[in-house]
């Protein structure tokens, strides 16, 4: 039975996580960029660069196309809100957070989809060729990535008999260390989905200036100043959220229980370590790969779906 006292703690934990993710997300992006710079023999702009970019953008005056509808203006806030909400649902520092109860993994995928719908609509709202081009490509990539992501999450749900993320994490974190073959396949699939959904190489290139090759960047070409800042921040949050899902599903060990103040510092330290490792791994992946032709993306994501389905089948066959 949850007492008022517990509830207070839970809310405090939730607030702590909300603040932590929104403040840490740009740092993760900066870390990934810095790792890439090191891998390319460059000195890099430093891990704090994303914060500087955000500060710069928030200080600028926004330029908005004459024919922009209110949809175009509200989209950055909606996208930012969606990503922040997603990051609030995922058990990042502690398992049983009040928000987690509100939405299960299917709703989580829905939150990501909601943001995508709005940003694609906003891209087409202005009526430039690039916006529509980007929106079209984004839809191609995401309608293939989404089912694969659901399959990955279902594999984990099968093991824990729940689609609630806290239950899944709780089950996986408190088992003694066993290797689930089904989860190994799901993890591979998840990495592919993560690359595709976060506009990373080999599906998209977040640092390109070639407008004709862009996917995500083409959709936000018309944004400036605070709107662009929110979208950039939301992208950082999305990457943070995805890596956090990955950590929650595949290496949840060490996560704190709500109310366990003593365990919190260790949980946060472990989380930071995991994030650093994941970010570095992402940088390595992106450095060794070239961007594929856009029509290879369906094969690539098809592989993800296949791997996730294999994971599911293995769970049925082996029960593990």
């Amino acid at each position: 039975m949850m007492t008022d006292y517990d509830l207070l703690f839970a809310i405090l934990f939730q607030l702590a996580q909300l603040l932590l993710v929104v403040l840490l997300a740009p740092l993760l992006t900066g870390w990934v960029n810095q790792c890439q710079a090191w891998l390319q023999n460059r000195s890099g702009a430093g891990v704090l660069q994303p914060y500087r970019v955000l500060r710069k953008l928030f200080h600028k005056d926004a330029v908005i196309a004459h024919n922009a509808s209110p949809l175009f203006r509200v989209t950055p806030y909606i996208v930012f809100g969606c990503m922040w909400l997603a990051a609030a649902i995922i058990p990042i520092i502690a398992v049983d957070l009040p928000f987690s109860q509100a939405a299960d993994v299917i709703a989580l995928v829905g939150v990501f989809a909601l943001a995508r719908v709005f940003i694609s609509l906003a891209a087409m709202d202005i009526g430039t060729a690039f916006g529509s081009l980007g929106a079209r490509r984004e839809m191609l990539v995401s309608f293939l990535a989404e089912p694969a992501l659901l399959m990955v999450l279902f594999t984990a749900s099968m093991i824990s008999h729940s689609t609630q993320l806290p239950r899944i994490v709780d089950t996986l974190a408190h088992h003694q260390f066993v290797l689930y073959p089904s989860l190994a396949f799901a993890a591979l699939a998840f990495v592919i989905v993560l690359l595709a959904e976060n506009a990373r190489i080999p599906v998209d290139n977040p640092s390109t200036h070639l407008e004709l090759t862009m996917i995500h960047e083409a959709m936000i070409l018309e944004y400036s100043a605070r709107h662009l800042a929110l979208i950039e921040w939301a992208s950082s949050l999305k990457l943070f959220a995805y890596i956090s899902i990955g950590i929650a599903l595949f290496i949840p060990h060490g996560i704190a229980e709500v109310g366990n103040w003593a365990g919190l510092p260790l949980a946060i330290a472990l989380l930071l370590l995991k994030l650093m490792l994941a970010g570095a791994a992402l940088a390595v992946l992106e450095t060794v790969m070239a961007k594929m032709r856009i029509f290879r993306a369906p094969e690539f994501l098809g592989t993800a779906f296949l791997l996730a389905v294999l994971g599911l089948l293995i769970h049925f066959l082996l029960g593990a």
């Binding site: 080999p202 862009m214 070239a290």
Partner: protein, 516 residues
Amino acid sequence: MPIKHPGLNLKRLTDAVPAWAGEVAPHALPEICQQVRDGGGRLVALWGCDAREQRGWFMLHVALMNESGLVCLGVPLPAHHPEYPDISHIFPAAGRMQRAAYDLLGIYAQEGHDHRKWLRHGAWHSGSFPLRKDFDATASRTAEADAYPFVQVEGQGVHEIPVGPVHAGIIEPGHFRFSIIGERVLRLEERLGYVHKGIEKRFESMSLQQGAKLAGRVSGDSTVAYAWAYAMAAESIAGVTPSSRTLWLRALLLERERVANHLGDLGYLGNDVALSFGFAQFWILKEQVLRNNAALFGHRYLMDRIVPGGVTVNLDAAGKRVIEEECAMLEREVRILRNIYDEHAGVQDRFIGTGRVEPRLAAQLGLCGMAGRASAQAWDARVQFACAPYDKLDVKMATYRNGDVAARVIVRFDELFESLRLQREIMVNLIHDKEAPALLETLPANGFGIGLVEGWRGEVMVAIHTDAEGKLARVHPHDPSWQNWPLLEHAVIDNIVPDFPLINKSFNLSYTGQDL
């Protein structure tokens, strides 16, 4: 004689490259062009001069090339009716040059079917022509915009993407109009001319040595090639031959320019397939070359190092050692990087088969230079018309048949290694002495000279006409991009839109070099 025709009397120019000049009547022009074309020759350049003051007419100049050398035809056109027969059906590359000649001088091709302005962009009145001697630059400003109808592609699901002239990255301005269906490119139409700066007009008021500086700034990435071609043209008029040390140094600078640009392009090609690793590595190497340039020759991109009559640089024993060490380092590093590119499945998947220009099409449309050699067009001025010192160097031409992005990468790698070999060979032959540069200050009156240099992109040509006082009457710098831009339109057909930047970069053509 490279061309025999009853209406043509060719005179050999005292030039470093085999070149002839002669005059023909307008009606004989297509016949001669056809003859050159049938013999496997090409169009190099087409430009006009206002010779009304001296001779009472306009002149059209057409530079053709076949295996014996360069032939420059002068075609007198009546002042009141400056028209000439269209040659774009023989040499398709002539189309845009003819349009530019009209914009600048008001001479036009009969039956030319494309009358859209190429260079004008509404910067001066459509009835006035900047290269005419009576053009009033102060009175002719206008803001009238041009109607420029692009060719429309119709059909279900076909739509257009306009790109540029302002791009998302910091590159030169050019407008590209894609007609696409889904991601597939049905047609691309280029519109250039956004960086027209009036370079040719500016030359008219300059002295010979001032002109050398301007020539070196026609296209910054080919500054050595332009400066050398300009110097070669001037020396040809003056009938002087620079010292052998000067020529060795010029060749050294030209090869260093080639190495720097090929390194940069190979990096960019990696970047365009999102292999930033390759980008960073090649640019570290390029930066090293540029820094050595600055330390040894006083300028990173070697601007103003070649002047008519000589060079302004010298190289001592210590400098030679720096270059030898640099060559050894580049050889080692680029070999490793080439292996990485060759064995990277993702990179090769993007390179192979992308933006293919078949040799037949390349020959038909006159693709030239480095891109031409990747489509089996075996033209290299350093080989066929080897002027000193290339006649002693035995340059090995890099050619490839596939004509895709991968082929252009291969040709770049091969040329890079060959350039390193040439630099080493030049080091052996170059003697250090403190000879003072014998600068050329004046030119004979009513002279005509032509310079042809194989820059990294292709053959750069500069033609100089002097007036009755020996001043610069007309200077025409010609960039190989004139020939190669139209091929880019063909190279992207049936490719997908996101591959265009890669294909474009694999040609890496100059905007400023042809917008002038």
